[in-house]
């Protein structure tokens, strides 16, 4: 490689295209400086800075679209990074997710004696890394971004360090995460070794660059090292998605982690995994579709069944959310398989992700507001007669759960519908059959939860106390709580009855 090549690459380092990520990192540094300057960790101030900083970014990004939403595909940074409409949408997705995590974090932290600034700081950094992750077009950047995300989550999961559950979850996530990173890295190295080897015809200059790798794999689809490498890479990603057989960490980690972090894991981390998987199987591994399609289909079926069946007998709500999240990952995997043959399925996946985001944060939001004292021990019984005590929370919970279950007229239904249509067009009938079984199973536990919360209980007059100690009554809801919950519910409903707000935008 000579100097001109370096200069050319340097010329493609257009940092201006990474302004949202840079902004987030700067915001994080600003928060850290704030802590230093003001000494006392004033939660209100920190939260306002984090919240309005992110809202400002959202507005700025929105303003930048007046010139037209990005279209077409642009490679930057010497091919390390690629920007497409999809990555731009996912940026917004992650920013939205991060906003909601910051909000939930405030609610979580205000009742606990824990470090504060750092929560927002890490959330912002992880979000920036997530944005880079979905834009990466080369394994080095992909790996570094993924590690940044993962390391951030190690800290966040163990954040409530006074709680044994949280520490246990942190340790489990650390070990599992390290294992998956190892698998991923080993796979990358195998691919690098075989695709860069001058002994094979068609060796490419930068074997880590996705399009170059795609060329090589198309020329050698049956090479053993290619198979082993791509299988390991997919396994590493499957950990992040929580697909069977790499799902075992999920229930414990979701239960132990602070509720805002569970939501962050469930939504943003999973979404990033799905998008990366999508990029890989339609990009460098496209030539391997002979075995990736059956493999991912099988995994999707097992994931759907595992998630739904194990969620059925659960009483702990955080575990329910974790396990049902596995099932949602299964539906999304079905979308990924469909996207390998049907182009517009990508839009369906993104739509599904947005509905999942809104509904999940609605449910997690209610959980966070209800659990000011104890976090990991929320049982279904605690939700008994919630509608009487907190009608707004019960309503938001119902909307969120119904959307997750895919009940019209909520966004979740349209999400499942477009995903199913895509799967139909791709001819995935077996997968569809299992998805339907999964959806019916999921009705049981989602509906059971709603039943506890909303439906009146017959109680004899004297035995009024329930067996399980009720959670302490939440503090009265603030204006922000109401705005957030009502906003999420209304958006879920809007996506259900007027999907064009998003479909137009996704060009679905």
């Amino acid at each position: 490689m000579n100097l001109e090549a370096f200069q050319k690459i340097a010329a493609s380092n257009l940092w201006g295209n990474l302004l949202p990520e840079i902004y987030l990192v700067a915001l994080c540094l600003l928060l850290l400086v704030f802590e230093m300057v003001f000494r006392r960790q004033d939660l209100l101030l920190l939260f306002r800075v984090a919240l309005w900083g992110q809202v400002l970014l959202l507005v700025l990004m929105g303003l930048s679209y007046f010139g037209g939403f990005p279209s077409g595909r642009e490679e930057l940074f010497g091919g390390l990074l690629v920007q497409t409409p999809l990555t731009e949408t996912m940026r917004l997705f992650f920013l939205f997710g991060s906003l909601l995590v910051s909000y939930l974090g405030t609610r979580f932290l205000r009742a606990r004696n824990l470090a504060r600034t750092e929560f927002f700081a890490i959330t912002l950094l992880v979000t920036a890394a997530l944005m880079l992750l979905v834009q990466s077009n080369q394994f080095v950047l992909l790996f570094v971004a993924l590690e940044t995300v993962t390391v951030g989550f190690y800290v966040l999961v163990a954040y409530a360090r006074t709680s044994g559950y949280s520490l246990e979850a942190g340790l489990k996530y650390l070990i599992m995460g390290a294992l998956s990173s190892g698998l991923l890295l080993f796979g990358i190295v195998l691919l690098y070794g075989v695709a860069g080897s001058p002994d094979l015809a068609g060796a490419v200059g930068d074997p880590l660059h996705f399009p170059s790798l795609a060329q090589f794999i198309a020329a050698h689809p049956d090479n053993t090292l290619v198979l082993a490498g791509s299988l390991l890479v997919l396994s590493g990603i499957a950990f992040k998605v929580g697909a069977v057989p790499f799902q075992i960490w999920i229930p414990d980690v979701y239960q132990g982690a602070p509720t805002p972090v569970s939501a962050f894991l469930a939504v943003s981390s999973k979404a990033a995994g799905i998008i990366v998987l999508l990029t890989l199987v339609t990009g460098p591994f496209a030539a391997l579709s002979g075995w990736t399609i059956p493999l991912i289909s099988t995994v999707a079926v097992l994931t759907i069944l595992y998630g739904n069946l194990t969620a059925l007998p659960q009483r702990n709500v955080k575990r329910i959310m974790g396990l049902s999240g596995i099932a949602h990952a299964g539906y999304l995997l079905m979308g990924v398989v469909a996207a390998m043959t049907v182009d517009w399925a990508v839009g369906a996946i993104v739509f599904y992700l947005f509905t999942y985001l809104l509904a999940s944060f609605g449910v997690f939001g209610v959980m966070a507001l209800l659990s000011e004292g104890q976090d990991a021990d929320q049982e279904l019984d605690h939700y008994e007669d919630l509608a009487k005590r907190q009608p707004l929370l019960a309503a938001a919970l119902t909307v969120g759960l119904a959307s997750l279950a895919g009940i019209p007229p909520l966004g979740g239904f349209i999400g499942k519908l477009v995903l199913f249509i895509a799967a139909f067009q791709a001819g995935l009938y077996t997968l569809l059959a299992f998805s339907v079984v999964g959806v019916v199973l999921s009705i049981y536990y989602y509906f059971g939860w709603v039943r506890e919360a909303v439906f009146r209980v017959w109680r004899s007059a004297e035995g009024a106390g329930s067996a399980t100690p009720a959670l302490p009554e939440p503090r009265s809801l603030t204006g922000l709580d109401r705005t957030a919950l009502v906003g999420l519910s209304v958006l879920t409903l809007i996506l259900g009855v007027a999907p064009f707000v998003l479909t137009w935008f996704l060009q679905l």
């Binding site: 490689m1 370096f6 200069q7 050319k8 340097a10 990474l18 400086v33 010497g78 390390l80 163990a158």
Partner: protein
């Protein structure tokens, strides 16, 4: 060659395993150094001399020795709470000022479009692609690659380290009990 590979591979893996199982932190650190040395040897086998040197210098040398010092010499509990005083605050302020000035200089120049790096002066003695490289040239090539092509992952690694630092603080710093009391309603 194979015999060396097996030898060095064992030297990498066995101490790594022992490091995990040993209960003694000092022994653990020593095992980790051994493992790093084994890895450096593997780099030598691959003729990646520069990496081997870095591995020894940075990991086995600087970082691990620091670890050992911390483990053996410092009882963390007895360290007085470091309070930022006027001098450190002033130093931080000056650094911040310099940073901001630097950023302004960059922005006032070519903006963030990356043109600055591409305007590097040509290096006349830079070898052609097929020539074998000496160590010095390898370092230079490494540097060029790091600061052009891999600039973005390099910067991202900085973020990763920042997260790790914050994480260590979060998970280990003791919080004064009274700080929990001022959490009065964070509403807006």
């Amino acid at each position: 060659m194979d015999i060396f590979f097996i030898l060095f591979a064992l030297l990498t893996v066995v101490p790594a395993f022992l490091m995990v199982v040993t209960p003694n932190p000092v022994a653990g650190a020593v095992f980790l150094i051994l493992s790093f040395i084994g890895m450096a040897c593997l780099f030598v086998l691959l003729e990646a001399f520069f990496l081997a040197v870095l591995q020894i210098l940075v990991y086995a040398g600087a970082i691990m020795v620091l670890f050992l010092f911390i483990i053996m010499l410092l009882d963390v509990r007895e360290v007085e709470k470091l309070r930022p005083n006027t001098v450190t605050a002033a130093a931080a302020g000056v650094s911040l000022l310099l940073l901001v000035l630097g950023l302004i200089a960059v922005l006032a120049g070519d903006g963030l479009s990356g043109q600055l790096l591409s305007a590097l002066p040509a290096v006349p003695d830079y070898p052609a692609a097929d020539e074998p490289l000496g160590l010095a040239q390898k370092v230079k090539a490494y540097g060029y690659g790091l600061f052009t092509k891999y600039m973005l992952p390099f910067q991202l690694t900085g973020i990763l380290l920042l997260i790790a630092m914050i994480g260590v603080i979060v998970l280990s710093k003791k919080r004064a009990a009274e700080e929990g009391a001022e959490s009065a309603g964070a509403d807006s």
